[in-house]
C-alpha cells in the first residue's frame, strides 16, 4: 500500500468570533486564501490535485452550497480539482485528511488539498435554524446536549477540580504567548485581510484572573469561559500526498501518516472521545502512548483535555508545545487540519519520531491521527 504524507500546512490567524479582526471576512474567502497559500508555498502543481476536501461543522449560509467547490474557484485551483465538504463537527478537517489518505491508498489520486473553515461570527454555532428531531430529543436528549454540559459531566466523572482546569488554561496561554512572542507562528500563518497575528491569546492570563470568572454553563459547575475554547473565526489547510508523489516532485514532506481512527462514545461525555480513538490508532500503529514524542490534543475544554491526558497516561510536557485551543481558539471545522498539520510540522521542527493529533467531537466521537517522521 502507498504511504501517505503531509507535505504542507498553513492556517489563517485565529480571532475571537464577533469581536476579533476576522469578523468581516467571509469564511469561503478566508479558506481560499489559506488553500492558495499552501499551493504556492509547497509548489504543488494543481493539475495533479485530485480533490479539495473541506471540513466545516455548520455548512450553511456563507459556508453552504458545497463550500469546498466554491473555495476551489476562489483559490483558482483549476476546474480539474474536485471539491467536497465534509462534516464531522470539530473533527471535520481531520476527517478530510483521513479521506484523502484512504483515497490515496485506494489508488484514487496522488495529491489532495485538505482544509477546514469556520466563521463562528458569520454562521452561528447550531446554525441559523436549529430544528432538532422531537422524537429523538424525547427519547435521547443527550443527542443534542450542549458542549458545555459535556465538559461539566467529564469534570465530575474524572473529578477534575476547577483549579486544575485553570492551571491547564494558564499553561496553554503561556505556551501560546511564548510561541507568538518568539515568532514561531510566522511560518504557519497566512495573512488574511491583513491579519497576521492570532487574536485569542491572552498573555496576561493568570490563575487569579481565571478564578474570578463565573461558571459558564452550570451555576454549580466548574467550567468557565476561561477554561473553554473561545468561539473563533479561522481556517487551516494541509497538503496530503502519496509519499512517492511528494518525493518525485520535491515537495516539503513534514511527516508520514502511520495510522488513523475514529470512535464513538456517549454524547454526554463527548470530551472523552480522544481516549478510544487514540487507543485504536496506537494499536493500529503498533505503538504505545509512551512512544509518542509530540502530541496535539485539542483543548475543547480544559476538563476534557485533562481527562484524556490522565486516562491515556500522556506526558504533559509533550502536549500542545505552542499552546492549544483554549489559548489559540477553536474554529470548529478548521481545528482538525490545524492540529494535524501542526503535529507534522512539530515532528520536523523538534526532530522527533512519533506524533499524535486527536480531538473530541460533539455528539460523542473521537478522532485520532498518528504521524511519524520520514
Amino acid at each position: 500500500m502507498k504511504n501517505v504524507v503531509i507535505a504542507g500546512y498553513a492556517r489563517s490567524a485565529f480571532h475571537p468570533a464577533r469581536k476579533g479582526d476576522l469578523t468581516k471576512v467571509r469564511p469561503d474567502d478566508m479558506a481560499a486564501q489559506v488553500v492558495r497559500a499552501v499551493v504556492e508555498r509547497t509548489g504543488i502543481d494543481t493539475a495533479d490535485v485530485e480533490d479539495l476536501i473541506v471540513g466545516c461543522a455548520f455548512p450553511e449560509g456563507e459556508q453552504g452550497l458545497n463550500v469546498a467547490r466554491l473555495i476551489g474557484f476562489l483559490a483558482d485551483l483549476g476546474l480539474n480539482v474536485g471539491g467536497v465538504t465534509v462534516n464531522r463537527f470539530c473533527g471535520s478537517s481531520m476527517q478530510a485528511v483521513h479521506q484523502a489518505a484512504g483515497a490515496i491508498q485506494m489508488n484514487a489520486g496522488e495529491a489532495f488539498l485538505c482544509a477546514g473553515v469556520e466563521s463562528m461570527t458569520r454562521v452561528p454555532i447550531m446554525g441559523f435554524n436549529p430544528l432538532p428531531n422531537p422524537g429523538l430529543y424525547r427519547a435521547m436528549p443527550q443527542a443534542y446536549i450542549s458542549m458545555g454540559e459535556t465538559a461539566e459531566n467529564v469534570a465530575l466523572k474524572y473529578q477534575i477540580s476547577r483549579a486544575d482546569q485553570e492551571a491547564f488554561a494558564v499553561e496553554s496561554h503561556r505556551k501560546a504567548a511564548a510561541a507568538q512572542g518568539e515568532g514561531r507562528f510566522a511560518e504557519e500563518i497566512v495573512p488574511v485581510a491583513g491579519v497576521k497575528d492570532d487574536g485569542c491569546i491572552r498573555a496576561d492570563t493568570t490563575a487569579d484572573s481565571l478564578a474570578g470568572l463565573k461558571p459558564a454553563f452550570d451555576e454549580k459547575g466548574t467550567v468557565t469561559a476561561g477554561t473553554s475554547s473561545p468561539l473563533t473565526d479561522g481556517a487551516a489547510a494541509v497538503l496530503v500526498c502519496s509519499e512517492d508523489y511528494a518525493k518525485a516532485h520535491g515537495l516539503p514532506i513534514l511527516a508520514r501518516l502511520r495510522s488513523i481512527a475514529v470512535s464513538g462514545c456517549s454524547p454526554d461525555v463527548m470530551g472523552l472521545g480522544p481516549i478510544q480513538a487514540t487507543q485504536k490508532a496506537l494499536k493500529r500503529a503498533g505503538l504505545t502512548a509512551g512512544d509518542l514524542d509530540v502530541i496535539e490534543l485539542n483543548e475543547a475544554f480544559a476538563a476534557q483535555a485533562l481527562a484524556c491526558i490522565r486516562d491515556l497516561g500522556l506526558d504533559q510536557d509533550k502536549i500542545n508545545l505552542d499552546g492549544g485551543a483554549i489559548a489559540l481558539g477553536h474554529p470548529l471545522g478548521a481545528t482538525g487540519a490545524r492540529i494535524t498539520g501542526k503535529a507534522a510540522a512539530l515532528l520536523k521542527r523538534e526532530g522527533k519520531q512519533f506524533a499524535l493529533a486527536t480531538q473530541c467531537i460533539g455528539g460523542g466521537q473521537g478522532i485520532a491521527t498518528i504521524l511519524e517522521a520520514v
Binding site: G61, M126, F128, N129, P130, L131, P132, N133, P134, Y137, Y144, S146, G148, E149, P215, A216, F217, D218, E219, G221
Partner: protein, 781 residues
C-alpha cells in the same frame, strides 16, 4: 427622526469633558448631530486625548445611560484643546463646559475667537458666573455670538435648559440655539435674566438651604423633613436631604458661596440662616452624598449587614432610619399642602418656615430674574421635578392665605404678591390659560410655536367618547385622539370599551386616529389588580373574555379603515406595548421605555404581542431565511421581558419599525403624531394580513433546549421554564404547525389565548402577580 425645522446647526463642539460637558456631547449625539468633545492634556499623559476618550468610555457603561443608543458614541469625535482646536472650524455651535473659573473661561474664549467660523455661536454652561462678567473685555464680534445655555444634570434626562442672552447677543443666534435645543435636544428652553444662579438653582438652593437649617432649628429628623417637604407639596419623595445626597453635599457650600457673593445684601440669601457647619463637617469626613460614603442617609454595611441609617442633625451621629410619625403628615393626607401649612406641630412649623420662604423668594424673582411667573414654574417643574411650580403651589394655597402665612412667619411680602392682591397667579380665560404679570394684568401663557397639548384642548372641548378609562377628543384637522384616563393608564375592560366605541366615531367623522396621553407613562400594561381579583374568585370566564376582547380591540384598530398612529412616551409595557405594535405607524417620544414584560408576572403577551413580534421579525429583510430566526428573535426578546431603554433602542428590537418616527421634545409629540397621521390618511389602505410559517414541535424542542441551558446557569427559575415553554409553544405555532403549513393571524391569536389562559390559572403565576402588586418587583419563583 422627524424634524419640523431645518436647523442651521449641523455640527457642535463641547469643550470640557467633565460630567456635564460629556453628557451634553452625548445628548447632541443622541440628536444625530456630530459633535467634537475636547478637554485639556493632563500633565505627563502619553495619550493626549485621554480625558475626552475616557469620558466617552465611561458614558457607554453608565446607568442611567447618557446615550439613547450605544452607536451614538460614534458621533463624538474626541480630542484636546492644545492640538485639535482646528476641529472647531466647521462647528456651528461651541458649548463651553469647563471649570467655573473666569480666567480659564476667558482665555479659552480668546482662543476660540481665532478658530471658530464667522456666525458660529458660543455658549457657556456656567451655573454661577454672570454673562456680563464672562464677556468682559472680549471683542464685540464675540459678544454678538455669545450666550449662556445652562443644562441640568444629567443632560439627556433633564428637560430644562436655561437660556441667558445679553443685549449684544444676535437675536438670530439666540433663536437658532433655542430652536435646536427645543426640537433636536428636546429641551424646554426657559429664558432667564443675567442674574446669579438664573432661576432654578437660585430658588432651589435657597429652598434646600432653608430645608437644612430649619430642620435643625425646629428639631426635625431628616426623615420627617423629607416626608414634609416632599409628597404633600408634589415634590419628589427625596425631599430636601435625600436630594442633597443625590446631587452631592459638596456642591452646596460652593454654590451658596457664589450666590451670597453675587447677590445684594437685600436679597433673601443674606437674611436666611446659612449655618452649614454640619454639612462642612460631613464633607470633610467624606460624606459627600451617594457618590461618596453616604450623606444625610447612608447604608451601614458594618458586620456584613445592610442597615439604612440617617444622621442626627443635632449630634451628627448616624442611627437606623425611623418612620416619620407626625400629626401634620396625617393632616396633609386629608388636606394636602394647605392642611400641612395650617398645622401647629413642628411638621407644620417646618413646612411654613421652609415653603413660605421658598415661595416668597419665588415671588421675589419676578421680574428680578424672570419676566414671567410661568418661567419660574417651568424651571422648578423641570429642573427639580416638582409636580407644580411655586406659583401653582401658591394658587393652591390661595394668595391671600399665603400672604397671611408670610406675615405670621415674619417674612416680608414681595411686591408681586402685593400686586396680586388676592388674585391667583393663573386663570383660565376661555380656552386660554393666563398668568399674572408684574404689571398687575393677566397675559396668556404661550406655548412654543407648533406645540399642541391635549391639556389645552381639553380645557374647553367635550370628549366625543368617554368611558371610565378612556376618552376620545377632536384635536382638529380631522384627527381624533384616544386618551387613556385610568390609574397609571393601565388597561382594563373600560379602556377596551373606549377603543370599541371610538372606532365607529372616528370612522364617521375623522381622517385618522392618534393614541396619546399626557400621563408620565403611556401605559404600564394591563390592570393586574383586576386580573388577580378575578383569579381569586375563579372568574376564569371573565379573564378569558378580557383576553379575547383585547385581541378584538387591537385587531380592530389595526384593520380600521383609517390610519392609527400611536404616540407613546415614558413606559409602554405589556398591553401598552401591544397596542403600539398594532398601530399603523408610531411617533414615539425619544424617552419611551417599551417592552413585553408579561413573563415577569408569569404570563405571555395575549393581546397579539407574540403575533406582532413574529410578523415583524419574519418580515425583517436582514434576518436569515428559514423557520427559526424570527421565532428565535421573538422568543429571545419576550422570554426575558426585554424593555428598550429609549425609542432608538426599541427599533433594535422591532418594538418600533425603522420607519417609525421619534420626537425629542415631549411637548411636540402630539403635533408630530398628528402630522404623521394626516400624512398617512391620504389614500389610506388598511394593512394586508400577514401569514406565518412556523416550525412546530421541532422549533419548540430547540427553544426548550436553550431554556434548559439558562436553568442550568441559574438564570431561569422553575416557573420561568414553564412560562418560556408556553411562549415557545405559541411562537413555534403550536401542535399543528409545520413549515409546509401557512398559518393565519387568527390561528396565532388563538394560541396566545390558550397559553395565556393556562398560565393565568397557574399558582406560581398568581404568586408572581400578587408579589408584583405588593412590592412592584418581579417574584423569581
Amino acid at each position: 427622526m422627524t424634524s419640523k425645522t431645518e436647523t442651521p446647526i449641523q455640527k457642535v463642539a463641547v469643550i470640557g469633558a467633565g460630567v456635564m460637558g460629556a453628557g451634553i456631547a452625548a445628548h447632541v449625539a443622541n440628536a444625530g448631530i456630530p459633535v467634537v468633545l475636547l478637554d485639556i492634556v493632563p500633565e505627563g499623559s502619553r495619550n493626549r486625548n485621554v480625558i475626552a476618550e475616557t469620558a466617552v468610555q465611561k458614558m457607554l457603561k453608565a446607568d442611567p445611560a447618557p446615550f439613547m443608543h450605544k452607536r451614538n458614541a460614534r458621533l463624538i469625535q474626541t480630542g484636546n484643546i492644545e492640538d485639535n482646536l482646528d476641529l472647531l472650524a466647521d462647528c456651528d455651535w461651541i458649548v463651553e463646559a469647563v471649570i467655573e473659573r473666569l480666567d480659564i473661561k476667558q482665555a479659552l474664549y480668546r482662543k476660540l475667537e481665532e478658530v471658530r467660523k464667522p456666525g458660529s455661536v458660543v455658549s457657556s454652561n456656567t451655573s454661577t458666573i454672570p454673562l456680563e462678567m464672562l464677556t468682559g473685555g472680549l471683542p464685540d464680534s464675540f459678544r454678538r455670538d455669545f450666550l449662556i445655555t445652562h443644562f441640568f444634570n444629567p443632560p439627556r434626562y433633564m428637560r430644562l435648559l436655561e437660556l441667558v442672552t445679553s443685549p449684544q447677543t444676535r437675536p438670530d443666534a439666540a433663536q437658532a440655539i433655542t430652536e435646536f435645543c427645543d426640537h433636536k435636544l428636546g429641551k424646554s428652553v426657559v429664558v432667564c435674566k443675567d442674574r446669579p444662579g438664573f432661576i432654578a438653582n437660585r430658588l432651589g438652593i435657597l429652598w434646600l438651604l432653608a430645608g437644612v437649617t430649619e430642620a435643625r432649628r425646629l428639631g426635625l429628623t431628616v426623615e420627617e423633613a423629607d416626608a414634609i417637604i416632599g409628597r404633600p407639596f408634589g415634590i419628589p419623595k427625596t425631599g430636601v436631604f435625600a436630594l442633597i445626597d443625590l446631587v452631592g453635599l459638596d456642591l452646596m457650600p460652593h454654590v451658596l458661596g457664589s450666590m451670597v457673593k453675587a447677590l445684594p445684601e437685600t436679597d433673601a440669601f443674606h437674611q436666611i440662616d446659612r449655618d452649614l457647619s454640619l454639612v462642612e463637617k460631613m464633607i470633610a469626613e467624606g460624606y459627600t452624598g451617594r457618590k461618596g460614603k453616604g450623606g444625610f442617609y447612608r447604608v451601614n454595611k458594618a458586620g456584613g449587614g445592610k442597615v439604612k441609617e440617617a444622621i442626627d442633625l443635632q449630634t451628627g451621629a448616624y442611627r437606623p432610619t425611623q418612620k416619620p410619625q407626625l400629626e401634620s403628615l396625617e393632616a396633609a393626607k386629608a388636606g394636602g399642602a394647605a392642611g400641612l401649612l395650617g398645622h401647629a406641630d413642628k411638621g407644620g412649623q417646618y413646612a411654613r418656615a421652609v415653603m413660605a420662604r421658598t415661595l416668597a423668594y419665588a415671588a421675589a424673582l419676578v421680574p428680578e430674574a424672570a419676566d414671567e411667573v410661568a418661567a419660574v414654574d417651568e424651571a422648578m417643574r423641570l429642573g427639580y421635578n416638582w409636580k407644580q411650580g411655586p406659583f401653582e403651589l401658591i394658587d393652591k394655597i390661595g394668595t391671600d392665605r399665603f400672604v397671611q402665612v408670610l406675615k405670621a412667619e415674619g417674612i416680608a411680602v414681595p411686591a408681586l404678591l402685593e400686586t396680586a392682591a388676592g388674585r391667583p397667579f393663573y386663570r383660565i380665560e376661555g380656552a386660554v390659560r393666563e398668568q399674572l404679570g408684574s404689571d398687575g394684568a393677566y397675559h396668556p401663557v404661550r406655548r412654543a410655536e407648533g406645540v399642541v397639548m391635549l391639556e389645552d384642548i381639553k380645557r374647553t372641548a367635550k370628549p366625543l367618547v368617554k368611558t371610565a378609562s378612556a376618552s376620545l377628543w377632536d384635536i382638529g384637522d380631522g384627527v381624533a385622539c384616544l386618551e387613556f384616563t385610568s390609574k397609571m393608564n393601565s388597561l382594563d375592560p373600560e379602556l377596551l370599551k373606549g377603543i370599541e366605541k371610538s372606532i365607529p366615531v372616528v370612522q364617521r367623522g375623522f381622517k385618522a386616529l392618534v393614541i396619546y396621553n399626557e400621563g408620565s407613562n403611556f401605559s404600564v400594561g394591563a390592570n393586574l389588580g383586576l386580573a388577580l381579583f378575578a383569579a381569586n374568585i375563579a372568574a376564569w370566564s371573565q379573564i378569558e373574555e378580557l383576553v379575547e376582547k383585547g385581541q378584538q380591540a387591537y385587531q380592530a384598530l389595526k384593520y380600521a379603515p383609517f390610519p392609527v398612529v400611536a404616540a407613546p412616551s415614558g413606559m409602554a409595557l405589556g398591553g401598552g406595548c401591544e397596542i403600539v405594535l398594532h398601530a399603523d405607524a408610531v411617533q414615539a417620544h425619544a424617552e419611551t421605555y417599551i417592552g413585553l414584560v408579561e413573563p415577569g408576572v408569569g404570563l405571555i403577551p395575549g393581546w397579539g404581542g407574540c403575533k406582532e413580534m413574529l410578523a415583524r421579525w419574519q418580515a425583517n429583510p436582514k434576518a436569515p431565511k428559514g423557520p427559526m430566526p424570527a421565532v428565535g428573535k421573538a422568543f429571545e426578546i419576550i422570554s426575558v421581558a426585554t424593555v428598550a431603554k429609549s425609542a432608538a433602542e426599541a427599533q433594535d428590537h422591532l418594538f418600533l419599525r425603522p420607519t417609525d418616527g421619534i420626537t425629542m421634545n415631549r411637548y411636540r409629540l402630539l403635533a408630530d403624531a398628528k402630522a404623521r397621521a394626516l400624512a398617512l390618511a391620504e389614500g389610506y389602505q388598511p394593512p394586508e394580513k400577514p401569514t406565518f410559517r412556523l416550525p412546530g414541535e421541532t422549533g419548540l424542542v430547540a427553544l426548550e433546549m436553550a431554556v434548559q441551558g439558562f436553568r442550568k446557569l441559574g438564570r431561569a427559575t422553575p416557573h420561568d421554564e414553564v412560562v418560556a415553554g408556553k411562549l415557545a409553544w405559541v411562537l413555534t405555532g403550536g401542535p399543528d404547525a409545520d413549515v409546509t403549513v401557512e398559518m393565519s393571524e387568527d390561528e396565532v391569536l388563538s394560541l396566545e389565548r390558550d397559553a395565556f389562559n393556562t398560565l393565568v390559572r397557574h399558582p406560581a403565576t398568581l404568586a408572581r402577580v400578587e408579589h408584583m402588586l405588593e412590592t412592584g418587583r418581579p417574584l423569581r419563583n
